[in-house]
Symmetry: C3
């Protein structure tokens, strides 16, 4: 049974990944052709000719149309066939899907579900995207051979940083600090403060802290596939309030997960920060630290994915730190159940997708 939610906006690519060339992406298992039209907008078509199934991305552009590389059938950016060489009549069924696209803040969003349900107002946004006192920096794309649910739950799980990211995002000071979890609409939030302790590697290297700090981690996981982690530090002697985080060094680390298939996920990551605004050097430094940390996550998540293919010998155990991930999997299960029954008003107490 699929774990992929179709009626949602996904990140197809950074804006910089799309240009005049015909490029093939696979999203939710479906091949998608992306290119930039002559007017600059991004076009997205099903990447398979309805005649003999050649990917249209192997054909060529003729203006804003795409000509199949096998027999020359030509499609416009609405997916409508506009030419069949060798005959005048164009069959009514000669068309491919065109996907709704929105491009914002350097991010290309795609809607893979029922087109009539696509509402651009639902696209993820943060006030800091539009605030000049914050620096926005697009990072890389982490390819992970794992189902996306594992990747996502890792992003509502502050507890793992103490063990997975000992030298970057966590340290032993946080090992026993309990995690709080709450939900707000489509977001699950897991957070904790670690007060008056040694700064983690990230803020030693980047924030320049030397004495003890108050450190926070707020993991916001928005259904189904977007996360941002609000984390930062302030001098412990200041004893700042929880809602005064902007007075410290504060980072919003964003993760846009794109399920390629049930077993492969791309995590595009970027950040916003309230310090070193305009400094490319700071961005590069931060990228280097994130790349170490995300490499640590990738190693863990791929190993877990492999083990999940093996029949389990025992029931999984449930811990206090699993609260966020369990709520997430329950909510995803409900979304899938609604899509399966094609009933947007279905009750939200469907079967759980708990750790398999």
């Amino acid at each position: 049974m699929t774990t992929l939610v179709r009626n949602a906006w996904y990140v197809a690519a950074w804006s910089t990944e799309i240009d005049d060339e015909l490029r093939r992406f696979v999203i939710l298992g479906d091949p998608v052709l992306l290119f930039r039209r002559t007017d600059g907008r991004v076009a997205a078509l099903e990447d398979v000719c309805p005649h003999r199934q050649l990917p249209l991305s192997m054909g060529k552009r003729i203006g804003d149309t795409v000509q199949c590389g096998y027999h020359g059938l030509t499609f416009d950016t609405d997916g409508k066939c506009v030419r069949v060489p060798g005959q005048d009549r164009i069959p009514l069924s000669a068309c491919v899907d065109a996907y709704p696209i929105e491009e914002r803040s350097g991010i290309v969003w795609i809607w893979m579900g029922e087109p009539e349900r696509a509402n651009p107002d639902d696209i993820f946004d943060l006030p800091q995207f539009h605030d000049d006192s914050w620096h926005m920096h697009h990072g890389g794309a982490l390819h992970i051979e794992s189902n996306y649910l594992n990747v996502a739950e890792n992003l509502v799980d502050p507890a793992h940083v103490s063990f997975v990211h000992e030298t970057t995002l966590g340290n032993s000071a946080s090992e026993n600090v309990p995690v709080h979890v709450s939900t707000e609409g489509e977001e699950i939030i897991a957070w904790r403060w670690i007060r008056d302790s040694e700064p983690i590697g990230f803020f030693k290297a980047f924030g320049g802290f030397t004495g003890n700090v108050d450190r926070w981690h707020y993991y916001h996981l928005r259904l189904p596939c977007t996360a941002y982690i609000d984390f930062g530090s302030a001098d412990a002697t200041r004893e700042i309030a929880e809602d005064d985080r902007d007075s410290g060094t504060r980072i919003l680390a964003l993760h846009f997960m794109t399920p390629v298939t049930e077993t492969y996920t791309i995590d595009r990551w970027m950040h916003l920060r309230n310090t070193a605004v305009g400094s490319d050097e700071a961005s590069d430094k931060m990228d280097a630290l994130f790349e170490i940390a995300f490499g640590e996550d990738k190693e863990i998540l791929e190993a877990v994915h492999i083990e999940e293919q093996r029949p389990r010998k025992r029931r999984p155990i449930r811990l206090a730190i699993d609260h966020g991930p369990m709520v997430y999997r329950k909510r995803i299960a409900e979304m899938l159940e609604r899509e399966r029954t094609d009933d947007a008003s279905a009750p939200t107490n469907g079967a759980y997708v708990i750790h398999s």
Copy 2:
């Protein structure tokens, strides 16, 4: 359900591929051992010992017998076991299949079906094989990761050359010229003439034409797995008749498809030509051009094969240019149905093997 027709002659190899060594081939999914006997004839045995299933090709020749490399069971070229080391009695069931073989014009033909139905008179032949005014040149073997039906239908499809082989076998002049289709016995023929147009790359490079030409393409696809393409050009000012093709530069490009498995096909290609007879330089030049064109086919066919593994979202569309391929798939479906019901006189209106 298999797509492989067993009661037919297939090309196992060029004559030059077979010598004294034990060599393993896989044909219609079955392993076959081929070697040249001391009298020069080609022997073909099932390549698996009936004792512990070691391929006999891993053993060694002892005269015209083959000794298994595991326990020394020895088989003659009829597939009969003639020795079991350690015991005098040879079990009646100790044998392997021997396949009918015919070698003609440098081509080794094999019959993989019921031996009693093998009739050498059914082997593909052309008058030009035996005509000294024609030059015969054996080419290479194109390995294609695709079911053979895709490869075959490409060889009764003149329309694709305008798009797949723009620089070699086609050009835009032919894009909208309709294709005629007829059938003669076991052959499906699709053809068209492109009159008074620029010569294609092939005849620019090879035939030396500079002005406009009349160009023809006759695709003959003989069931199940042999094709020859009669194509050529003549000066357009001559306005030659359709049956006067020998007065132009005429080439017969042959393709012998050997299904290795349901997902892998070898296409051995050669040509006959009525010009530059005896010139190795011309053969090399033509090989080089064909290799470019066939590499283009391979790229298309393998991409189509991969897409065919994916569930289709919509019904395939049917175009006028599909007439030849559709007749071919229908006829193959009938052959398979007759083999399935083991009734050579079954009616010919069985289920279709249309594009999956």
Copy 3:
């Protein structure tokens, strides 16, 4: 249906393979973590955390406990969870399997079945392990992509050496010498003497024989996965009795097969010899000869395993030399049937596992 017998002692590793590091092995399809405790004993745990299924081998040692690399759950060498970071209560179900281990003569034995049935008295032993007049030498580990049954039956099959190991362990003198088979408890023994013939390559290179010898091969296959081959030579003019083998040059070649999965087997091999005691040079020379021979076996066994995946066209034939292998497969089938029905007293006439 599984071919893997669980209630048996298997060789997990040579003693030299295990040290302070956390190392992952796969045995009978199950991941196993092995490491040497601070007191020198070997610990063996199920290599998967019961929380989120990360292999424990990706975590780290803290004293004699193992801390998971994902969320820090910590297990002792009995498999009991002793710490869950972030909470005081440890769930009762938070545990992993610990496997019985015995280390003897440089060999680490593991029991993968029901722990209460593990009896160290059942572990394979030979008097020569404890006899200073014999030299013991641990060899290498041969990785074979084949089900273990093929590997095992090869070790109760003296007939194959004439054909597979022509230059090392066999020669043509033995081709037609019949094989005797008997059973003693859990052992199947296949043997033959080849009297007054040229020495095989092994004893030419190693034993220094130049004239004719009497040569013996006794293949002892102990259920399910241990074999030792007693083979040697003596000057033919001496005409030694069958039970006077110690007066010749005698070698015990041991094979411990560890099924990794149904399709992959590790064969750890070693030897005992009654000559050149204490000579490392002799050990190296013998290793080199064995490595050639075992490479020959590997090539055969992997080819057979591949062919076994293909549907058979005909029933396998049975020969006199198959007696040992057939008894072995019948006995294994009975062991599997007893494990399947969970009844150690089941009759021994269950279904046969004959060559598939």
